[in-house]
């Protein structure tokens, strides 16, 4: 079992931070919470946030991880860190010292990434804990309010969660209310008489922030229901940068922990198990993409080719999609031995479409990018509110069809929120499909 003391952690922490400093990293101070495995399960269920609002889905997540863990199908994460200032990270009491060292060095990498990558510019790390806390308080108040109660709160949250990713994906896009838009357009028209827009169309341009739009325009939602939508939107905005940068973030943290630990001159009894653990974390997963592996290998290649300083710039300005698009090349794809596959009806099996050879690697790379982060989530936007108050939605079809069973459910949820007629246009098997 673990034979370490808090003094050990403090001792190594100081050394780790000194190396990080020498590397020129810039991170939020880190608060480590030492917890047992049950608390870790709890922390995981609420994506690490100590002040998340309650919803049954987090109970489900807890049970799921708990079951998998008990069945030996999954380990618990070595690390869990929240994008806040100070960063909150969890260390599991049961773990051995070398795991903690790896975790701590890894966390410095994450915290540095959170602080510097521009995708996180709008995440407001200073206040995130308290803003989640007041949201949690608000939800609790609604649940305890006898005129509202948990069932009605869940109706709204269940529906809102179904479209939680249907918000803008990149920082810097601020939501404009219809009032804002009209005023802006009027100004433009005054300045340039030849500029004409149809101010009766709402929204004027496709609106990707469905949660926010419904909250503003639904004719039936009550005040508290609108507020719940905004709470979900707020939390999406916080989590989306992490989904956008999973490969880079993990790759960077692995790069950093590897660099730091190697500088520590650990005694063999700590260093050898560390190497073993590190290799386990960044190993390829057969038939899947292991973001730790992909990110680590790509940063390794970039540092080799361009140096560590350049890598620091890359970690600041890219997201996963641009990162892969810019730096993955044929030799990298060959090294990673990536292949694309799909289910073939006539063969009744998953079959390889392309492998990373001279003729196929670009296609595999494109599929890789299609399968990265938010590219795995369909884009649906609001086209307009029609005359009879029908909310017209469109799916941006990119060759991949929606899963209809799921889409129908979500469609139902949107109808619940909107309260009036909703329509959704997509393409299924090359035919226009209307829900």
């Amino acid at each position: 079992m673990s034979t370490w003391t808090e003094a050990d952690l403090l001792h190594w922490d100081e050394k780790i931070l000194r190396v990080a400093d020498d590397l020129g990293l810039d991170w939020h101070p880190i608060d480590y919470e030492i917890i047992d495995y049950q608390e870790m399960l709890g922390a995981m269920a609420y994506v690490g946030l100590p002040t998340h609002y309650r919803h049954w889905s987090y109970g489900k997540e807890y049970e799921r991880t708990h079951t998998l863990y008990n069945m030996g199908q999954t380990g618990l994460p070595y690390e869990m860190i929240i994008n806040s200032n100070p960063s909150i990270a969890y260390l599991m009491r049961e773990n051995a010292l070398y795991i903690h060292l790896l975790t701590m060095a890894h966390c410095v990498g994450h915290s540095d990434f959170f602080k510097n990558n521009r995708m996180f510019a709008d995440t407001n790390p200073d206040n995130i804990i308290s803003s989640f806390k007041s949201a949690a308080k608000y939800v609790r108040k609604l649940i305890e309010d006898p005129s509202i109660g948990i069932d009605r709160v869940e109706t709204i949250l269940d529906a809102a969660h179904s479209i939680k990713y249907q918000v803008p994906r990149y920082p810097g896009i601020t939501y404009k209310t219809t009032q804002d838009i009209i005023e802006g357009e009027k100004k433009k028209m005054e300045a340039d008489p030849s500029y004409i827009t149809d101010l009766t169309k709402v929204p004027l341009e496709p609106e990707y922030n469905i949660l926010r739009f419904i909250s503003e325009h639904s004719k039936h939602l009550k005040e508290w229901e609108r507020n719940l939508l905004l709470i979900v939107e707020e939390s999406s905005k916080y989590f989306i940068p992490q989904a956008l940068t999973k490969v880079m973030n993990e790759g960077w943290a692995c790069t950093i922990h590897y660099k730091i630990i190697n500088e520590l001159n650990l005694p063999d009894n700590l260093h050898l198990p560390f190497i073993k653990l590190h290799n386990q974390v960044v190993r390829p997963h057969l038939g899947q993409i292991n973001p730790y592996h992909l990110g680590y290998k790509l940063f390794e290649k970039l540092i080799e080719e361009h140096g560590f300083e350049e890598a620091k710039t890359i970690r600041a300005v890219h997201n996963d999609i641009t990162f892969l698009r810019a730096y993955v090349d044929e030799s990298f794809m060959r090294d990673m031995n990536y292949f694309s596959y799909s289910f073939k009806k006539e063969k009744k099996s998953l079959t390889i479409d392309d492998v990373s050879d001279t003729s196929g690697w670009t296609r595999v790379r494109d599929e890789l990018i299609q399968n990265t982060g938010l590219n795995r989530i369909p884009i649906v936007y609001i086209e307009e509110i029609e005359k009879d108050n029908t909310l017209a939605l469109k799916h941006e079809h990119d060759g991949r069809d929606l899963e209809l069973k799921y889409a129908e459910k979500v469609f139902g949820y949107i109808r619940t929120l909107w309260g009036d007629n909703v329509k959704l246009i997509s393409v299924v098997e090359n035919e226009i499909w209307e829900f």
């Binding site: 309650r54 049970e63 899947q288 099996s349 492998v355 890789l368 459910k409 979500v410 098997e429």
Partner: protein, 414 residues
């Protein structure tokens, strides 16, 4: 310098969300069971057998991509050398073979729970829904008969009820008193005789005894017109009835009678498996039931339930006789059910008032396909219908639960 601190909180913060989740699962189980009861695999199993129920409704739905061919996945081949066109797995939802527990939370996952329950638990789930208190009064009058129980003693009575023990006790008591006051000397040869006042008699009281044993008669049409699908529906329905009554009574016996033009008492296996052939004379099996009741299950000591299942086709000359026999069966049964399997019946289960479904005549198109030679037993039975005789119609597996609910759900006919 980082800060290290022990976690302060001792509360299990996920507890309330877990409790809420549990509640939702329970609810989902109940809802899923209605689909599961028509599954072949659970019918005819004994009570301990575990059943896997896929529980839906806990999935968190989002827009996700489907499995069409243009939605490709990407994976690493590790050290393997791979070729285009190579097969890497079988299942649609499945990832290409490999280890690792990649949590693809944005992918369509099979997020249903397989909850394992025993048949007994299943019965609990199912039947707790049925507002049993109301039902108990109406449908579950246990048969009762008078028995006689001794209770206390009286000075008067008939000779056969003389209590020798009490009488003797009184005589001994009198003898001892006599000894004490000196009117009787035990050393003497004189007998101390019984006196009229010594005599005590058992007192008896009638007592009503409830019988907690039930016999169910399952009667099924196996004539040529009963297709496999129809038999399957009948079977599912019988299964549910059996589970339910088993749940209510200490001891349940089942008698299976199948009929075409002749009725035959058969084993459970034969009942469900034997192929169908021949014409239909429903009265034959009703006759046989009455015969079996007379010989084996006296209505005073058995709660009798009779359920007939068929496709409603009968020789018209037989219908009058059936009506008469059904009347007799109704008299001796706690509940008699006449169930018609008719795939033309679409239920309208969710649109029409329950009364219409279970007591109304089947809807319009119904008579059109029916053989004109036979007239309708369903409507003939109309006068019999009350809370001890029910007609139900099943067209699809989904109707089974509704039909069942109609039988026991407490609603009584006017």
């Amino acid at each position: 310098m980082s800060i290290f601190r022990k976690h302060k909180s001792i509360v299990d913060r996920a507890a309330s969300d877990r409790a809420r989740h549990k509640k939702k699962i329970d609810k989902a189980i109940k809802e899923s069971i209605k689909d599961v009861i028509a599954e072949e695999s659970i019918i005819g199993q004994n009570g301990k057998k575990k059943i896997r129920i896929p529980v839906r409704g806990l999935r968190e739905y989002r827009f996700v991509y489907g499995n069409n061919e243009s939605n490709k996945s990407v994976g690493s081949g590790g050290e393997h050398s791979l070729k285009k066109g190579q097969k890497v797995g079988k299942n649609r939802g499945e990832k290409a073979k490999g280890q690792g527990t990649g949590k693809a939370s944005d992918q369509k996952g099979d997020e249903y729970y397989d909850v394992e329950v025993t048949l007994e638990e299943l019965a609990e789930y199912l039947f707790n829904d049925l507002e049993l208190p109301d039902l108990e009064k109406k449908q579950f009058r246990f048969v009762s008969h008078e028995t006689i129980k001794r209770k206390g003693y009286r000075f008067k009575g008939i000779r056969p009820r003389l209590s020798k023990k009490e009488t003797l006790k009184r005589k001994i008591r009198r003898q001892k008193i006599a000894e004490k006051v000196g009117t009787y000397d035990p050393e003497s040869d004189e007998r101390f005789p019984f006196h009229k006042d010594d005599l005590k008699y058992h007192h008896i009281k009638p007592k009503i005894k409830e019988n907690s044993t039930a016999v169910i008669f399952f009667l099924m049409d196996v004539s040529g017109s009963m297709s496999q699908e129809r038999k399957f529906l009948a079977r599912s329905f019988f299964f549910l009835l059996y589970q339910f009554l088993n749940h209510k009574y200490d001891q349940v016996e089942v008698v299976f009678i199948s009929h075409s033009t002749q009725a035959k008492r058969v084993s459970e296996d034969d009942f469900f498996r034997v192929g169908t052939h021949g014409g239909t004379i429903i009265s034959s099996c009703l006759d046989l039931e009455l015969d079996v009741v007379e010989k084996e299950y006296h209505p005073n000591s058995w709660n009798i339930y009779s359920f007939y299942c068929g496709d409603g086709e009968n020789w018209s000359t037989d219908n009058e006789k059936c009506l008469d026999l059904f009347k007799q069966i109704k008299e001796i049964s706690q509940l008699t059910g006449y169930c018609e399997i008719n795939e033309h019946y679409r239920g309208l289960a969710d649109e029409v008032d329950e009364d219409d479904i279970f007591y109304g005549t089947p809807w319009g198109t119904f008579s059109a396909w029916k053989n004109e030679e036979m007239d309708n037993l369903w409507s003939k039975l109309n006068p019999l219908c009350d809370n001890r005789f029910r007609r139900i119609m099943i067209g699809q597996p989904e109707h089974i639960w509704r039909a069942f609910h109609g039988l026991f759900g407490g609603k009584t006919a006017q």
